[in-house]
Amino acid sequence: MVKEIKLPEVGENVESGEIAKLLVSVGNVVDLEQPVLEFETDKAVVDVPSPYTGKITEIFVAVGDRVKIGDLLMKVETENMKSPVPVTEEEAVIPLTKAVEEFPAPEAGETLPGTEVVAAEKPQVSAAPEILREVAPASPSVRRFARELGVEIDYVSGSGPGGRITLDDVKAFTKLLVSGEKKPAGSGLFFETLPEFSRFGEIDTQPMSTVRKKTAEHLSYAWATIPHVTQFDKADITDLEKMRKQYSAAVENAGGKLTMTAILLKIVAAALKLFPQFNASVDMERKRIIFKKYFNIGVAVDTGRGLLVPVIRQVDRKNIRELSIELTALAEKARNRKLSPDDLQGGNFSVSNLGGIGGTYFTPVVNAPEVAVLGVSRSSMQPVYNDGQFQPKLMLPLSLSYDHRIIDGADAVRFLRWVVEALEKPFLILLAG
């Protein structure tokens, strides 16, 4: 009987790929599970095994062809060749193990996640009850948690009795996924075993606070997924600083503190309008860029609990005085642990001003899913050569880190130049912002 070999499911989100190599030719006899070709996805090269024992009679694809899941690849003559396991027509699309070779095993001796599992079942339109299929040993709450994280529970290996999958197993797997799939190879997000430090001297071990844990996970993710580039520049704020001092009393009476950060918020909002790719997010899963039509900006606040980034909403619709008042209130809330989860969500861009402490330049980490962050350092008097002589100018060092996936270097320079010029000639905000 002639059977068809179709391209099986090879993993989550893989819909198509290229034929990398043909491992058989017409007339070859293949065994069940024997690889017949290599299929290359964006992530990995995987072997496609034959679901039958038999003789290849026809091959419909060539090296370099782009094929989709379910596409016909070959035909096999199976007559008089008993396959060791009876295979029905429906089962012809046999599951492939996920390309997980790049994942390190969580523990020595444990099976790799996914090496023994059936492929992900995409929700299919059918009226059949699905309760009798092979099922991962996990409780309903753990299954739901996994689904919410977008993790296919069948790929998670369980650490409990009978291979039961716990909440922690899912979390650990998610970290592997993040590190294995979304990060450039080489840098390490998963954890190397630490040496026994006490061998070298006295130590004190403290558990991470929630904020610290979140910061660590979030920044690791951002650092691992975003190709960072940092652009530096400096702005002459001699005049602006005079104005700031001149009006600070008035703002203070209104309940705010007129800081360079508040002024920068206004300038950045204007810049975001002019350079929309800085007011965007990258959706790698669906290969698209989401441009936002609103202008919310996060401000990094140093608190007793650690770094928090509350968000000021609709910055473009507020004047600098209003921003000063809101920023003062928000920073206060942050320090008093009064921030709600809402206050920390919905930012498009972040400003981190370390100038109050010191330093010249630094390379801030983009606060994913945002695509850029402006770092501000301490301003200082510097001689600037102007009109044939050196003049003392108050210079503000600025560092712009950006996501190189959607922002090109030239645009980043233009963006930062515009910010610098607006600091030097605030009229620009009115003119162009």
């Binding site: 929700p123 299919q124 339109v125 699905e130 409780s139 299954r143 009795p161």
Partner: protein, 476 residues
């Protein structure tokens, strides 16, 4: 003239256990919900003409049979007098109490309950012909189809005679026939047969297949069949009904047995309980992108979304098994999805309970299904003869079996037959859902003396260490 036109965020069509569970959850999540059904209150077939009235009557049946058994324990009652109108009234009052309660819960949640029959104009609106005789258009953002199912009729069997009943007619309990034929050895036929038999009717069950209750393991069925064989006058297996002729005071039924012989018997009434069909017709589904399969079930994905992105389907109309608790879970799943959650319907075990005497309940993988799948399993059986609690009830005929994965000792399925099996199965469902292993059940303290201990002991048997049964582990 244009009909009255209103809008709703979520329209739920059908207010059975699936529909009202969906509507109530949606309201609790803050949605604006319209629930549509022709009945005066939510409840559907389950409450009005199914689970609830049948269980009320089965309770009576149990009482009658225990009163009879009490003779063996030194207590004798005189023959019971059956006041049929009073019994009917009590059963109806149970239904009224529960459906009325649902009506109040619906009002408290500000669910807009419309009494009427809804059909789809298109993927965004319904036409509702109200019970009061008006017509209105309802525009919805999302709809949940929960229209349930109806009893199947047999070809060539008259449907307009009061002597030929479906389950609804049997539950109405109009008369107590002297003799009754139940066509169909599924749970509906066996439960209603049990009710009528206990009230004094001579009940015969005819089933086309070689066994009762297809789907359940045969060793469990054997325990039930033993009891039913004495409760019923006759159980005819592998026998089909050729035709049914309605006469003046009864029906004449022609059978064909497995070996081809034909025979003819007379009964006062016939109950047709050969299955149920989804209510997917006359809903205007052709005006939407909803698709149905060859058995008229509405096709849905794992989230219970139909081919039409705005329309979900749950319960009997969306596929087997047609059980109220499955419908309710699906309803809640669909609403969670509508509310933006990532929920899917993915039970590891849907319990099935037959409320006969003894009760029969199972969940997850059955032994026969495991065999069919060629899956390596270990099965333990704890006979209730070894249960103290069963002995005190005078019922040592039960059995608790567990199907384990041979490698991991994970609980894959459980089957229980015996009084109260329907209550006992819940622990098993939790065990399957939580992926419990044999040790988990064995190490969980169960109260003594209860029937629930049979679950713990059955698990211990995997290690050959059940306390009240000596069955040492075979050496490998």
């Amino acid at each position: 003239m244009s009909d009255k036109q209103t809008q709703t965020q979520l329209a739920v069509i059908g207010s059975g256990p699936g529909g009202y569970a969906a509507a109530f959850l949606a309201a609790d999540l803050g949605m604006d919900v319209t629930l549509i059904d022709t009945a005066p209150n939510p409840g559907g077939v389950c409450l009005y003409r199914g689970c609830i009235p049948s269980k009320a009557l089965l309770h009576v049946a149990k009482l009658l049979s225990e009163a009879k058994e009490a003779k063996n324990w030194g207590i004798s009652f005189s023959e019971p007098k059956i006041d049929l109108p009073r019994l009917r009234e009590w059963k109806n009052s149970v239904v009224a109490q529960l459906t009325g309660g649902l009506g109040r819960l619906s009002k408290q949640r500000k669910v807009n309950f419309i009494r009427g029959k809804a059909t789809f104009n298109d993927s965004q609106s319904l036409k509702i012909n109200t019970v009061a005789g008006a017509a209105q258009k309802l525009i919805f953002q999302q709809a949940v189809l929960a229209t349930g199912s109806h009893p199947v009729t047999l070809p060539g069997v008259p449907v307009d005679s009061p002597l030929v009943m479906d389950s609804s007619a049997a539950l109405a309990l109009e008369t107590l026939p002297k003799s009754m034929l139940v066509v169909g050895g599924g749970y509906i036929g066996l439960e209603l047969g049990t009710v009528y038999a206990s009230l004094g009717t001579k009940v015969t069950v005819v089933e086309m297949l070689p066994g009762l209750l297809p789907g359940a393991d045969r060793d469990l069925i054997a325990v039930l069949a033993k009891k039913l064989n004495s409760a019923f006058t006759e159980i005819m297996l592998e026998t089909t009904v050729k035709n049914i002729r309605v006469k003046k005071n009864g029906v004449s039924v022609q059978f064909q047995t497995g070996n081809g012989t034909e025979l003819k018997k007379d009964y006062e009434k016939v109950l047709i309980a050969v299955g149920r069909k989804p209510n997917s017709a006359n809903l205007g589904l052709e005006n939407t992108k909803v698709q149905t399969d060859e058995k008229w079930f509405v096709k849905v994905d794992a989230q219970r979304r139909t081919g039409d992105p705005a329309i979900f389907a749950i319960g009997d109309v969306a596929g087997e098994p047609m059980l109220a608790h499955k419908a309710a879970h699906e309803g809640r799943t669909a609403v969670e999805v509508i509310a933006g959650g990532k929920s899917v319907f993915e039970p590891r075990a849907i319990p099935a309970v037959v409320f006969t005497d003894p009760e029969l309940a199972w969940c997850g993988l059955t032994e026969s299904e495991a065999k069919k799948q060629k899956r390596e399993v270990s099965v333990t059986r704890f006979p209730w003869a070894a249960s103290g609690r069963a002995a005190t009830l005078g019922r040592s005929d039960g059995l608790t079996k567990i199907i384990f994965d041979s490698q991991t000792e994970r609980v894959l399925g459980v089957g229980i037959v015996g009084p109260g099996a329907g209550e006992l199965i819940s622990e098993a469902v939790l065990a399957v859902e939580m992926a419990a292993v044999a040790k988990d059940l064995e190490l969980t303290i169960h109260p003594h003396p209860t029937l629930s201990e049979t679950v713990m002991e059955s698990a211990a048997m995997l290690f050959g260490t059940g306390t009240h049964i000596y069955r040492p582990k075979r050496k490998r």
